[in-house]
């Protein structure tokens, strides 16, 4: 088993709806080139898409860090933004603070964070109000 590790960083800007989906698409292409299993790629792509949309909708900006090794894919989404006052509530399926405009665009179903957790083998979130939110997740290679 090789121990090769590989890191890439991506920046996401808040309110940039036009650019949204760029990072998840890039990461998906990258994982494909590296040769991860289809299912691993799918789970990472869905989770990163949701994380990216959360940044676009709610945060000012974020740095997404991708770490790859043969064991799996590790993602950190570290944003500067309003933070989440009650994480337990935010994790509930169906709970959303999306605006009417976001809902009209098909966002705000309250499925973002639950979708990330569902597609990850490890998941952690921490947040500080008026500072930012950090979401970490790992998808094991299989």
């Amino acid at each position: 088993m090789t121990t090769t590790k590989f890191r890439r960083e991506f920046d996401v800007v808040g309110d940039d709806f036009a650019g949204a989906g760029r990072v998840s698409t890039e990461i998906k292409a990258l994982l494909k080139r590296v040769g991860y299993a289809e299912q691993t790629i799918r789970r990472v792509a869905i989770a990163v898409f949701e994380a990216e949309m959360n940044v676009v909708m709610y945060a000012r900006r974020a740095r997404i860090t991708l770490d790859m090794d043969p064991e799996g894919v590790r993602i950190l989404v570290d944003d500067v933004g309003p933070g989440i006052p009650d994480i337990e509530v935010a994790m509930q399926e169906g709970y959303s603070t999306a605006t009417d405009r976001m809902r009209q665009m098909g966002f705000g179903a309250g499925m973002g964070l639950p979708n990330i957790r569902r597609n990850a083998d490890e998941f952690a979130i921490e947040s500080e109000v008026n500072s930012g939110t950090r979401v970490r997740f790992v998808v094991h290679a299989r």
């Binding site: 698409t25 098909g106 499925m111």
Partner: protein, 115 residues
């Protein structure tokens, strides 16, 4: 069944991506909540939605969907069409509403894509 056959039999308008119509449609998915579609659609699906904007293109590209059909006569703006072309996602438009359109798709033999 190829996307071209679907387009011809249902009289869909091809807004962009006409060069990718030979792709096989292996199933279908309908939905307007992007989180639902990104989580539950399957590769090769034709996606029926009213979300005619660029984030829909991102979802289709991410899940390798065969194409998107916008219902109720909705059509993508130029930026959205450009983005879809760049990613090889055909954007189609139908004057029908979701319910009738899905009925027609099943009638002409588009598989549901699920066992």
């Amino acid at each position: 069944m190829t996307l071209r056959e679907v387009v011809e039999r249902l009289g869909l308008k091809v807004c962009c991506g006409g060069e990718h119509l030979e792709r096989e449609v292996t199933g279908g998915y309908a939905g307007d909540l992007l989180s639902d579609v990104v989580a539950n659609s399957q590769e090769g699906d034709i996606w029926i939605t009213l979300q005619a904007h660029e984030n829909a293109v991102a979802v289709a590209s991410l899940r390798d969907l065969a194409g998107i059909v916008f219902v109720g006569g909705r059509e993508p703006d130029e930026d959205t069409a450009r983005r879809a072309s760049a990613r090889g996602i055909p954007l189609l438009s139908s004057s029908q509403r979701t319910f009738e359109l899905i009925g027609r798709l099943l009638e002409v033999g588009v598989p549901t894509g699920r066992v």
